[in-house]
């Protein structure tokens, strides 16, 4: 299994997300994570799609099929070293005796306490998959009341944007 991160520029119109997700699931492909939001350009949204596949041909098909959608403008597969972050909000139960330990762990991971109550703290942590996983492992012994995780968002390193990228993912697969 290799994880692929696709950055997809799409038209910022209603129904585009449904088209993208519908296409991927209809063709039997599995998404690990998907997030979508606006960009510096008001008519364009950017999706980050993370998929783990055994067969490289699957990712090639996903890219090609997505490219056929009229409202998909561009697809770029980000390099493995891209900045790839997600956010975790977790509500951890604590007492007067355990609270400081939980806060210590949070500081260690450069997280933020975003809410406190007499018997819980809510923590926000952002970062890569590994960091998020280790953080939740660390606090789980105190008792996780509830948690929620965002999808991953990713940007390539360096000063260039995917708009300038000469070789969109399709070109790579088109031959």
């Amino acid at each position: 299994m290799r994880t692929h991160t696709l950055s997809v520029l799409v038209s910022n119109k209603s129904g585009v997300l449904a088209r993208v997700v519908g296409l991927i699931s209809r063709r039997g492909f599995n998404i690990d994570s998907l997030s979508v939001g606006t960009t510096e350009h008001p008519d364009v949204s950017r999706m980050t799609i993370v998929m783990a596949v055994e067969d490289e041909r699957v990712i090639e098909q996903v890219v090609k099929q997505l490219n056929k959608l009229i409202e998909v403008y561009k697809i770029v597969e980000l390099e493995a070293n891209a900045v790839n972050h997600e956010m975790l909000l977790v509500k951890v139960s604590c007492t007067d005796s355990t609270r400081s330990a939980v806060i210590d762990i949070t500081n260690l991971f450069r997280g933020h306490i975003v809410d406190v109550s007499p018997d819980s703290v809510t923590i926000e942590v952002t970062g890569g998959r590994q960091k998020i996983d280790s953080f939740s492992a660390m606090v789980s012994s105190y008792g996780i009341i509830e948690m929620v995780q965002s999808g991953q968002v990713a940007l390539g390193r360096g000063s260039r944007s995917i708009n300038e990228k000469k070789r969109p993912a399709l070109a790579k697969h088109k031959g």
């Binding site: 799409v10 038209s11 129904g15 449904a18 088209r19 519908g22 296409l23 209809r26 041909r57 090639e60 098909q61 090609k64 099929q65 490219n67 056929k68 959608l69 009229i70 409202e71 998909v72 403008y73 399709l170 697969h173 088109k174 031959g175």
Partner: protein, 586 residues
Amino acid sequence: MAGEPRSRETGATELTGAQALLKSLEKLGVDTVFGLPGGAILPLYDPLFDSDIRHILVRHEQAAGHAAEGYAVATGRVGVCIATSGPGATNLVTPIGDAYMDSVPLIAITGQVKSTAIGTDAFQEADIRGITTPITKHNFLITHAEDIPAALAEAHHIARTGRPGPVLVDVAGDALRQVVPFVWPEKITLPGYKPTVSPHAKQMSSAARVLAAAERPVLIAGGGIIRARAAKELKAFVEATGVPVATTLTAKGVFPSTDPLYLGMPGMHGTVAAVGAIQRADVVLAVGMRFDDRVTGELSTFAPHATVIHADIDPAEISKNINADVPIVGDARKVLAGLIDRLEGKKLQDLSSWHEYLQGLKDRYQVAKERSADGTLSPQWVIERIGEKFGPDAIYATGVGQHQMWAAHLLPVDQPNHFLTSGGAGTMGYCVPAAMGAKVGAPDKVVVGVDGDGCFQMTNQELVTCALNHIPVKIAVINNSALGMVRQWQSLFYNERYSHTDLNSDQLPDIPKLAEAMGAVGLRATTETEVDEVLARAAEINDAPVVMEFVCEKDAMVWPMVAAGTSNDDIKIARDMAPNWGEDEL
């Protein structure tokens, strides 16, 4: 439209959304539409009453869709069908899906409930955009009248360019009624849509190199060559290179069946020559085809010795099912013309022993046209006779089933766009409405449907439409009293347990009477002499639709056959009978 009010600010003509839609169609050169009205689409039907656009009122929306497909294939233009919201729109789903599978350029216009009612389960509301998303090339939901002209222009452009396909335009009732200035888009801006038409030079050179070295090459020609209008280039390519040609079901007619290098159809019911050539080829050149499972059989053993050159305008088809050693994205015409150029002056291999070998297969294994023992009509014999009578100038449409496969093997179709059939979807009921649409589009052509008794009972109501609108199609019903193709599978794979495939169509319906009741001429033949009489009679009638019922034997089977999921190498020419490949001749 004269005397239209004008907008005070822009000077543009003020039109209702409905008028704007019709004006857009006119600007796009659409002169014929097939449809059936209802509440949500009524605002469009009102100005349609006075319009120059010819509207053919069908009896079922499915038929409007198939008729638009038949029209599109026969004319090479975009077919247009119209339906109301809810059930009208969902009745279009089958032909839209059919057009999607066979890359037929189609615009489906549907009325939608008014924009403020969308999402409330209003009367006759269906999310037709959601429903058709997986089976359209693109679709639109229009809720503002001013968006109508651009949507139609874009729909037309998307439907006919690149890999053609169906586009649905769903228009809310209030958008049809709203009055706005008519603004026709100067140019179409679709930043996310740029089909690759010109093939990559490097890939073309590799393809030429591979072809020049080929000793046992075969070309599999797909329907894409018809859509690309590249029959001439195909012929020239074969003349220049001597590469033998197989045509897939949807490509029938793109290459003359009389040419010595024509091998017939590949696939599940392909000819021994076509299937044998592919399995022995050292190079497969596939153009405008998509390696459907009905063509490949078991994938892992398909063309096991071949270097595969795959050219298609849709990059997603390349290496989807069969890995392409030389992938080429581009228009079939440019690909074929480009290959001819690149091979010019190149020394090619001597293909004569390959040609001889394939000619041997062709001679030994012609498609069986056995006559039945008990004197009942053989369906193959009847279909061949139909072809002899109406000849290669007629346009043929088929249903889906055994008769379709026999039609594919036996009808003399030697021109593109003269064989209309439902390939990828296999839609029973396609024949009658598709024939109707073809005749509307090509009124000077004789249009002959070869239908099954099962298929005919799905959409024959359109004979009324044909009779009332003076659309004199000729429909031959191959009546074997059964859902024959399914029955064949039961014979071969389900121990002859004929669960619900006997239609009893020898008893009911009385097909000639049914035809007569709908204003068509109804004829029946049960003997070979009657067949010729019926055909002669049908050929004479040009002012009314004709239905010819041919009462045929039930047990005839389509051969050759590669059973589903097995290898092409296991092709049978009759039950438990493998061909003698005569491999030592190779």
